[in-house]
């Protein structure tokens, strides 16, 4: 049994998880549908969004250089990291140079990808997660299970119990508003007292050097403006050429993620505090992280670099909605995670991710940047086959079947024999247990095949 199958089985056996995932994804699906219907021409907007990203990915080097120059001109410092470890090292060095004891972190999946929470802990720096869901995850000592709602695997009832156990001054009333107040009491002081604020970036604007974040809680602004130092960690694919492009992507992002026209807070950070500014950090550092992205572009995964991390693919995925995010085992779950995780963490331990998909195409249909996720997953299946990672039974089974299927006369004989054998089992038209097909018959009945194949019947009719 693979790790994935074990995790999926555990998830399927957890009825609370199912309720939690269904509540959030169900609401997201319904709200997105309304938002997309209300949009003048969402299909054209998707095409434009994909074209913007494709253009940037094709000219990534030029746009990165432009962004670096603009960011430096705005007073920020730009750092380049080839790997996750290098990115973490740069962040820790900046924290240490600033004498930081406490950092406030605004939710960033790139931070999760490079292992930043762990690196901060190892460096002895206190990390305060300021996004409400990340705060929940931190209290529970868990990992995010969704890229937009990291704590979506928890019900509000579970969160209430967690807050009561961990908060200094927890809520008394059992309402969502009271719970939010409890988190606010816990977090606000920590945010205002942090030495360094760390964020990701939803978009990097090449011509102005601005970094854009979107939140619904305003926690990014409170985490990034008061501290002395603001550090941004961002994947190099986050670039857009200019503000109008960013605005277009923002329209796609919010609608695809939550069904809202815009998030509550959309902020563009352009450099540190300037002379005359009333507030803002003294230093702004932007760490541009590759971590396999250049390789993805060169090895057939360029389309995946369009991803704007909206989560629509997982919200609409029948598999994700049954097993939740943790079962995928990587930083990113769902269809986009199934494509990214083998690239980030290796194919051999993650070959299941490419297969645990029905190829129904819904993810591609809702993707705001038209990523052909099923095609990319099939690409991983092909690679896994070529590299001999597929189970021997599968290789031999398919090989034998294909060998027969390439010999139509033998194939007809084979189907006749198979039909006869299968028809010996079961009764009254249905088979409730079939050796070698227990994956099917464990959960559902199999209709008996007809007594004679179509081809056999047809040939007999033609001879009449």
């Amino acid at each position: 049994m693979s790790g994935f199958t074990d995790r999926a089985d555990a998830a399927l056996a957890d009825p609370i998880l199912k309720i939690a995932v269904e509540r959030t994804t169900g609401t997201a699906e319904a709200k997105r549908a309304i938002a997309v219907d209300a949009f003048p021409d969402f299909e054209a907007a998707r095409t434009r969004a994909a074209a913007i990203k494709d253009h940037v990915i094709a000219h990534l080097g030029a746009y990165l250089e432009q962004f670096e120059a603009s960011a430096i001109a705005s007073g920020a410092q730009v750092h380049w990291a080839q790997t996750a470890d290098e990115a973490c090292r740069i962040v820790i060095d900046i924290c240490k140079a600033a004498g930081a004891r406490t950092v406030a972190r605004s939710k960033s999946m790139l931070g999760e990808e490079i292992g930043l929470p762990h690196a901060l802990e190892e460096a002895g720096i206190v990390r305060v997660e300021t996004d409400l869901a990340e705060h929940i995850i931190q209290l529970a000592d868990e990992r995010p299970s969704h890229i937009i709602w990291p704590a979506m695997h928890k019900t509000r009832e579970q969160v209430s119990a967690l807050f009561r156990a961990k908060h200094a001054n927890p809520h008394e009333e059992e309402t969502i508003a009271a719970m939010a107040q409890s988190a606010r009491r816990e977090l606000r002081g920590a945010m205002l007292g942090a030495d360094v604020g760390i964020s990701g970036a939803n978009f990097l604007i090449a011509d102005s050097g601005a970094v854009c974040t979107v939140t619904n809680e305003g926690n990014a602004e409170l985490s990034l403006v008061p501290p002395r130092v603001h550090i941004v960690t961002a994947g190099i694919e986050k670039i857009v050429p200019s503000m109008p492009h960013a605005i277009h992507m923002l329209r796609m992002l919010a609608r695809s993620a939550t069904g809202a026209a815009l998030t509550q807070y959309t902020t563009f950070y352009t450099g540190p505090k300037r002379a005359g500014d009333r507030d803002g950090p003294e230093q702004m550092h932007i760490v541009l992280v590759d971590n396999g992205r250049t390789k993805m572009r060169e090895e057939g995964l360029a389309e995946m670099l369009r991803c704007i991390r909206c989560g629509a693919c997982m919200n609409h995925c029948v598999v994700f909605r049954q097993i939740g995010g943790h079962a995928y085992g990587g930083t990113y779950p769902g269809p986009m995670g199934a494509v990214l995780t083998p690239a980030l963490d290796g194919l051999a331990p993650n070959r299941d991710l490419a297969h645990a998909c029905t190829l129904n195409g819904k993810c591609q249909e809702v993707c705001p940047v038209k990523i052909p996720l099923p095609t990319l997953l099939k690409g991983w299946r092909e690679k896994s086959w070529r590299e001999g990672l597929e189970p021997t039974s599968m290789r031999w089974g398919l090989g034998f079947w294909a060998w027969v299927a390439r010999r139509p006369a033998l194939y007809r004989l084979g189907t006749a024999v198979a039909i006869r054998a299968i028809r010996l089992i079961g009764r009254k038209g249905w088979i409730d247990s079939l050796p070698l097909a227990s994956g099917w018959t464990k959960h559902r009945d199999l209709p008996k095949p007809a007594a004679r194949s179509f081809m056999a019947q047809y040939q007999q009719e033609q001879r009449k």
């Binding site: 999926a8 998909c357 190829l359 249909e365 092909e382 599968m394 299927a405 249905w430 099917w440 194949s453």
Partner: protein, 251 residues
Amino acid sequence: MTANVALFVTCLVDIMRPRIGFAAIRALEAAGCTVVVPQGQTCCGQPALNSGDRSHAVALAKQTIEALEPYEAIVVPSGSCAGTIRCHYPELFDDDAEWRARAQAVAAKTFEVMAYLDEVCGWKPEGVALPATATYHDSCSGLRQLGIKAQPRRLLKAIDGLSMTPLPGAETCCGFGGTFCVKYPAISNAIVGEKADAIDATGADLLLAGDLGCLMNMAGKLHRNGSKIRAFHAIELISGMGDGPAIGEEA
């Protein structure tokens, strides 16, 4: 309209439910087509293609192309197999211009049977009656690769006495996914379990769809649950064969 069309039966229909193939022939002939069943056909190769086994997928695609290319049109009683030929065959020959051209030529004249009857033939069933209530599941490959949604409903509407009741989540995958359902049976079961409940809740007499794989998955789950809903490929009703045995019923 007197086209000379080849029927690509599909391996699942050939073995599990030949009635679907005969229903397709009956409807096509009623629409004025001359139907031929090329003997060189077996399976389109989709299991190999979706398992990552490209070399066997290419070999079976070549065999299928050779068998089908002499005909004016190729008609398939499955959105998923038609989608493989139409959308994926040309992609298999990126480095082979000759075969790519042959694959593209076959792809361009391959149709799912109900789409062909409705859009190409402009045909509707006449004099077909079936007093029943039916609900329709949109199989994913047909829906998203070939845009099959309105065509079967238009054809079914012409059946006297048949009333259609919508299936909530009709466009949500049933959890079949080819080899997915046996590779990840527990996940597949959770998905088809919800689908079966949704089908049951419609109160329909019949479950219809355009792909036998999905139908076997849903019908098998409904039967395991003790549901009385009977499942047919929509073409069986459209061709006037809806009074015969449903999936899992002995003739």
